[in-house]
């Protein structure tokens, strides 16, 4: 960890400590918006972490991940990752965005949104499922395909375009239809420049993975602390081997998921491009979230199954976030397809090149 990332971590931890408590989360889950938290994050520059990197399009990724690991550990009820990516694309494209939350479309690497020039306007088409936090925004940054190549656009989001529901973590989720919607701002994307169409959903998926890692690491700490605290049969339950073995698996799987996510972030920043390590990272924490939640709830017993104890803020988010920006299966499948297409003796060179 660098001094700068230590400083960022201290700053966001303070902001979360100042602004986030149980009642604040409940209000957002009931459909509210936590403007003070948002303002504090924006004023501290945290929402611009991804966009502020100066050398290369991925140079802000490390700082963004420091913010989001901490955000995940606090079960933060706000679209921080989404707005970071929106500002990252907007910065490269010269779009003006207001200070509010902004969504990013598409949300999956295999979705294709379309765009057509009609005179001086750009008209979008296509739809997307499972867009987190869309109902909390009035604006989205969209990557779309025209007959001449890629465009980035900013569109205003209205209620008629959305169908809203809530995720398992009571976070807003919408499907959206862009058919016939005119872009407010748009630019052609030069080939090889900031974004390929996949860059937005991939970046969202990786940032969500880091939030899940942060949540899982917090779950490990909470579980260890609770097991040392809770007495049964005259001693802390942490002294029972059965409990220790469960906690060890929880910690090991969390550490492994963190390891591949950290490695992916480091490798993307080094290479300046996406790597297969990030596919693995996005898959692993999503696939392990079930086991992580299972063990922590087992260790916590009845109290962990209540609204009043803060564990559910984290486990419900693991259950929700694992489906955001591609499922664990989707991400694993990308690696599986690559592996199944190599010639004899070429699998290992593929593994070492990821």
């Amino acid at each position: 960890m660098t001094d700068l990332s230590d400083m960022i971590e201290t700053t966001v931890e303070r902001i979360f400590a100042d602004h986030l408590d149980d009642s604040a989360r409940r209000k957002v889950e009931a459909g509210g918006w936590h403007e003070k938290l948002w303002q504090a994050l924006d004023e501290a520059g945290m929402l611009d972490a991804l966009a502020s990197g100066e050398d290369g399009r991925f140079s802000g990724l490390g700082d963004a991940c420091t913010v989001l690991r901490s955000a995940g550990g606090h079960a933060i009820p706000a679209p921080v990752a989404e707005t970071m990516v929106a500002r990252w694309i907007a910065g490269a494209c010269g779009f003006d965005l207001d200070g509010g939350a902004v969504a990013v479309l598409p949300t999956r690497p295999d979705t294709r949104l379309t765009a057509q020039r009609k005179g001086a306007t750009l008209v979008l088409g296509g739809s997307e499922q499972r867009v987190p936090w869309l109902s909390a925004t009035t604006s989205a940054v969209v990557l779309a395909q025209t007959d001449k190549g890629l465009v980035a656009a900013q569109v205003n989001i209205t209620e008629e375009m959305r169908k809203d529901r809530k995720s398992i973590a009571s976070e807003p989720l919408s499907s959206v239809c862009l058919d016939g919607v005119a872009a407010q701002q748009w630019v052609d994307l030069p080939k090889g420049d900031i974004v390929a169409c996949e860059d937005a959903p991939r970046m969202l998926a990786l940032l969500r993975s880091m939030m899940m890692v942060g949540a899982a690491e917090r779950i490990v700490s909470m579980s260890v602390a609770y097991s040392a605290d809770r007495q049964q049969f005259g001693r802390p339950i942490s002294k029972f081997q059965a409990v220790q073995q469960n906690l060890s698996v929880l910690a090991a799987e969390t550490a492994a998921s963190a390891a591949i996510t950290d490695a992916a972030v480091s490798e993307i920043m080094r290479r300046g491009e996406w790597t297969g390590l990030a596919d693995a990272a996005c898959a692993r924490i999503r696939l392990m979230s079930d086991e992580i939640a299972r063990i922590t709830h087992q260790v916590h017993g009845a109290i962990g199954f209540t609204q009043e104890y803060a564990l559910h803020d984290l486990t419900r988010r693991l259950f929700a976030w694992r489906d955001d920006y591609g499922s664990g299966n989707d991400w694993a499948q990308r690696l599986g397809t690559q592996a199944l297409n190599v010639e004899r003796h070429e699998l290992w060179p593929l593994v070492t090149s990821l």
Binding site: S221, A255, V351
Partner: protein, 386 residues
């Protein structure tokens, strides 16, 4: 309490990648020459003294050791690259593996000058092979309960007792063994143990095979019937063997051999299935790749920590705990995907042969080199639970 067992990401140097290319070229030649099988039908490491010698000639053994003892003064990450390439290629590395991985480093740390000069250059040349003398009939995971004893006699020690589950004892030249040299004390069960090098050609040593589940001769039972060994067989300090052996175990736990044991089955499975399979199968294969890639990054990170002089005991335990369960998962998935195919029972189905061998070896992965239960205990200690 904060959880701070992190795996720092590692970037391999140009030097590492050049070395990888050299090792890979050599292994391709060896495959074309028929020394490494084109189509493997067995998991695990095969034994070839000739192959080990040829690695020694190329300078790929004793990689990190001082040149004065025949080593090459390379880095832990370079050694990591050499070992993962050898294992991924299915090279017959069994003969020198233990000596290069752990016996040599133990001698380098705790051995006398004479011991270093006597053994290390021969190990680095791929001419001198070791086995590990730890387990006994009544001592598996509980090493402190060892009973096989070394009594002080004039000019040396007399060994009496039995070592069990000693892989490769019938082919190795030496055993690096832990013997009881004094009774354990009430305060410290781990006291009174000492490490020795035993020349396995010494009269009075009887090596009996114990065939394993796969019908193979790998394990042995080694009897010492009052075997006399000289004073200079003692490694390090008398009665301080526990600490030395613990250091030895750390070398055993984080390397690529803890997650690559059934890699060839995965490679053959992928080749057999080919690209025209269902999404479901692509996902299943993808899940295996996810863990393979994850374990590789963790193992690299541990090599980086060793290079930096740290002692990543807990991280090494995490690698082996997850890695060996992964090794068992490959045959499970392979069986599920292959056994329903119409050619499964064909006489010449070599993938099935490999799968069956992997199934028979699987139980060993989560036992040898520290059971999963012991590893979880180490992780629990790292969490502050014990």
């Amino acid at each position: 309490m904060s959880w701070d067992v992190r795996f720092t990401p590692i970037v391999l140097s140009e030097r590492c990648e050049t070395l990888r290319g050299e090792v890979r070229d050599f292994l391709t030649q060896q495959r074309k020459a028929g020394i490494i099988p084109e189509v493997p039908t067995r998991v695990g490491m095969d034994y070839s003294a000739d192959f080990s010698r040829s690695l020694g000639e190329r300078g790929w053994l004793g990689w990190r050791w001082p040149k004065a003892y025949g080593g090459h003064e390379g880095t832990a990450l370079e050694r990591y690259v050499i070992t993962e390439e050898l294992l991924a290629a299915g090279a017959p590395v069994r003969a020198h593996w233990v000596a290069d991985r752990q016996s040599g480093p133990v001698l380098l740390t705790f051995g006398s000058e004479a011991q270093k000069q006597n053994y290390l250059p021969r190990v680095a040349a791929g001419e001198c092979f070791f086995c590990i003398g730890l387990s006994e009939p009544d001592s598996g995971s509980d090493l402190a309960s060892l009973r096989c004893r070394a009594e002080k006699i004039d000019g040396g020690f007399r060994i009496t007792g039995t070592k069990l589950w000693t892989s490769n004892a019938h082919r190795a030249h030496y055993m690096l063994a832990l013997f009881r040299t004094a009774p354990a004390t009430a305060e410290n069960r781990r006291s009174g143990l000492s490490q020795f090098i035993v020349d396995l050609s010494t009269p009075g040593i009887e090596v009996r095979p114990v065939l394993n589940l796969a019908g193979e001769h790998d394990f042995n039972e080694v009897h010492f019937d009052g075997v006399e060994i000289p004073d200079d067989s003692l490694v390090g300090t008398l009665n301080m063997g526990w600490r030395q052996a613990s250091a030895e175990l750390a070398y055993e736990r984080s390397g690529p051999e803890r997650w690559l044991s059934t890699y060839h089955l995965l490679a053959r499975l992928v080749e057999t299935l080919g690209p025209d399979v269902s999404e479901d199968i692509r996902t299943q294969i993808g899940e295996l790749l996810v863990d393979l890639v994850t374990l590789r990054q963790m193992s690299l990170s541990v090599a980086g920590m060793l290079e930096a002089g740290q002692e990543p005991t807990v991280q090494a335990a995490v690698v082996k705990e997850i890695g060996t369960r992964f090794e068992q998962r490959i045959p499970r998935v392979a069986h599920q995907l292959l056994s329903a195919r119409s050619d499964y029972d064909d006489q010449d189905n070599t993938v099935r042969d490999l799968l069956e061998h992997a199934i028979l070896w699987s139980p060993a992965f989560t036992i040898r080199g520290g059971t999963t239960e012991i590893l979880r205990g180490i992780i629990a200690r790292g969490l502050g639970l014990r």
